[in-house]
């Protein structure tokens, strides 16, 4: 057995939402915390995100949405990963997400949801504890 490789995380912006401040701050914070980070850039369809996640062989996908479309987009990404047999890729998310939506998102397979005001430290800690290299 070789040395465990670094955890690879993709931060992705699904849909047409252009608010990328949070996604980019998180991407940088995770990179500074020692993870390998890939950022998709804006305006990605769930299909594009899933294809990129598989191609880049990431361990987790962090989705960011601030337009209210999370109720469709987040579960759609999980569903597509499942269809591709890549459901061992952990999906988490954040953005402008009303509290009452969080249980539904978790039920759909989103492992954790971070809302505005979350400290970077808390996100980094969660990632360290919950995401491991897939193989």
């Amino acid at each position: 057995m070789g040395e465990e490789r670094k955890v690879r995380i993709m931060i992705a912006k699904p849909g047409l939402d252009g608010h990328d401040r949070g996604a980019r701050v998180i991407a940088r914070a995770l990179r500074d915390a020692g993870f390998e980070v890939i950022y998709t850039g804006l305006h990605q369809s769930p299909e594009q995100i899933v294809a990129a996640a598989i191609q880049e062989d990431v361990d987790a996908v962090g989705l960011s949405n601030l337009s209210g479309a999370h109720t469709y987009l987040f579960p759609r990404v999980v569903e597509l990963l499942r269809e591709q047999g890549a459901d061992d890729i952990v999906v988490f998310g954040g953005g402008i997400i009303p509290d009452e939506d969080i249980p539904k998102l978790k039920e759909a397979g989103i492992k954790e949801v971070f809302t505005p005001g979350t400290l970077l430290e808390d996100i980094i800690k969660w990632v360290k504890e919950n995401i491991k290299p897939r193989r």
């Binding site: 047409l16 939402d17 252009g18 998709t40 337009s67 209210g68 005001g117 970077l120």
Partner: protein, 558 residues
């Protein structure tokens, strides 16, 4: 403003005060921090005196309101004659839903309209495009065709109200819809008043709703400016925006600098087209953020007016005083609001609104307490509107013009903002201008750096965010507005009906004519208007642009 001897005497007295009075005080009661800064990181001194503004020349640097360089305001009477326009940014669900919200706000004393479109419209897609799934009516109102615009303004007289539209890549299309809707109400395009945001440079920099690469984006913007100068004389053809630059995490100085640098790019592009500067410059408008650092914001607005006036007169040789005036809309800072203890957002917004008014804004949107969670409820938006009404009619801040002028601190900070912003503008010009700077990712990365720095400061509690990193308590959730999932189905049904009922042969012809014009050099506005008139969809028109000019892809910098 002060003679040399007087300044020297003040300096001497300050030194004595520091030794004899201050020193004792610092020993018995030390200051809470080693350095004090604005939220943007500019150093703030303990005390400001005439020494800090010793080079200020009243006539040269401040002048009188309504006169060059407009530091004190663009009108000779400011709010004593007419208060700012209270313009609440609104849009939700279908055109019917938003029409209802507009009428509600007008009944409650709003004085101008401002349309928020949902993301598919902002990006030039129809509600039934696969990319629109989940977005319909969520972050604003769905507008696919002229039909939606007609419903949006049903019962709202377009000759009596001015309307601002936050729309960028497809700005020309929405303006065309507005013109044709007004025509159907019997209102000529010579009479309508309002604003399209139409500022693509800040989209590449910050707001990120983009469609075409920078050069063709600029061509269409200049087309709208040129067309309106002749045909829609009361229309503000562009709203050169710092708001989104700030929301993306910039400092106040970056907001000021990048916005003015964008403005200079647009003016130069119009001049290069062969227009006379005084023909179009009076209809350029601006849009700034009102963040939480009170004095810094006021200084920013004052510096912006002075800098723009100088650029327009000295660099571009504008002769009409209206070309020198920087007129601006303000929105309080969405990014300063917190999801935690959301009622605190009312207080934040009120302070920010006051800064905008003390800075001389022409119109104002105040955010609702729940906008960090969802689109605002009717109750929340009413409180936000009332915040402006209290400011205008109870606090007395409107009684005199530019009341903070002459404050040693505010004048020194105004100078500092100008100086720091000029440093950025010079740097951008040395790179070959804003488009070249954007292609290098320069403003994008400057903002990303500032945003990251700010977030780390919050994490480390170097800066307080009440309810987030200090004074943390649980707060019961507030009631939020939900968009009915039926909205998507209803909107798509209407769109399909429009497609069936219109003359599809004519639509095809008009789109073909637009394509030809886009391939050439003609002004595209008349062609867009003819497409819209036949109920061509926003996506059909934007697809022509995407086909002819190509798409811009986010470089994904972080």
């Amino acid at each position: 403003m002060f003679n040399k001897e007087k300044i020297e005497a003040i300096i001497k007295e300050r030194q004595r005060w520091e030794e004899e009075i201050l020193q004792d005080s610092l020993e018995t009661l030390p200051e809470s921090r080693n350095t004090f800064t604005t939220i943007s990181g500019l150093g703030v001194k303990r005390l400001y005196t005439p020494e800090d503004i010793k080079d200020l020349d009243y006539e040269r640097d401040l002048g009188f309101p309504g006169q060059y360089p407009f530091t004190r305001g663009i009108h000779p009477t400011m709010y004593r004659a007419r208060v700012w326009t209270m313009r609440m940014f609104s849009g939700l669900g279908t055109a019917e839903d938003t029409n209802r919200r507009f009428k509600y706000l007008l009944e409650h004393g709003e004085t101008g309209l401002s349309i928020a479109f949902h993301f598919p419209t902002l990006m030039g897609y129809c509600s039934d495009d696969p990319m629109a799934r989940g977005e319909v009516g969520k972050c604003g109102v769905a507008v696919d065709t002229l039909k939606d615009m007609e419903i949006l303004f049903d019962g709202i007289p377009m000759d009596k109200i001015t309307t601002s539209m936050t729309i960028n890549p497809p700005a020309a299309v929405l303006l065309a819809m507005y013109i044709v809707t007004a025509e159907k109400q019997g209102v000529s395009k010579k009479e309508i008043g309002g604003t399209i945001q139409n500022d693509m440079l800040k989209e590449f920099i910050a707001q990120k709703t983009f469609m075409l690469p920078p050069e063709p984006s600029l061509r269409i913007i200049v087309d709208t400016i040129e067309y309106c100068a002749k045909e829609v004389p009361k229309w503000n053809t562009i709203s050169i925006s710092g708001y989104h630059i700030r929301e993306a995490g910039s400092t106040a100085v970056q907001e000021l600098a990048f916005t003015l640098a964008d403005g200079l790019t647009y003016v130069q592009a119009c001049v290069d087209r062969g227009m006379d500067v005084d023909e179009f410059a009076p209809r350029l408008s601006f849009f700034f953020n009102a963040h939480i650092d009170f004095f810094e914001e006021i200084a920013k607005y004052r510096a912006a007016r002075r800098m723009w006036a100088r650029f327009m007169r000295e660099r571009f040789g504008a002769k009409n005083p209206r070309s020198w005036m920087l007129r601006f809309h303000t929105q309080t800072a969405g990014c300063s609001l917190t999801a935690q203890q959301p009622y605190n957002n009312i207080i934040r917004t009120a302070y920010e609104a006051m800064a905008a008014v003390l800075g001389g804004t022409q119109s104002l949107h105040t955010n609702s307490l729940d906008e960090v969670l969802a689109l605002p409820t009717e109750e929340a938006v009413t409180i936000a509107l009332r915040t402006q009404q209290i400011l205008a009619e109870e606090t007395g801040v409107i009684n005199t013009i530019d009341p903070l002028a002459g404050s040693y601190f505010v004048e020194a900070l105004t100078d500092k903002m100008e100086e720091e912003a000029m440093r950025y503008i010079d740097k951008i010009e040395a790179m070959g201008g804003m488009i070249a700077a954007i292609e290098k990712g320069y403003p994008q990365m400057e903002i990303a750096d500032a945003a990251y720095r700010f977030q780390r400061d919050i994490d480390k509690v170097n800066r307080t965010l009440v309810g987030v990193n200090k004074y943390i308590t649980d707060h019961p959730p507030v009631e939020i507005l939900r968009i009915d999932p039926e909205v998507e189905r209803r909107q798509i049904a209407r769109l399909q009906e429009v497609r069936q009922k219109r003359d599809n042969k004519k639509v095809k012809e008009r789109l073909q004519q637009l394509r030809h014009a886009a391939q050439g050099k003609e002004n595209l506005m008349p062609y867009i208007i003819e497409c819209v008139r036949e109920y061509a969809t926003i996506q059909e028109i934007c697809d022509v642009f995407r086909e002819v000019f190509g798409r811009y892809q986010d470089p994904g910098l972080f």
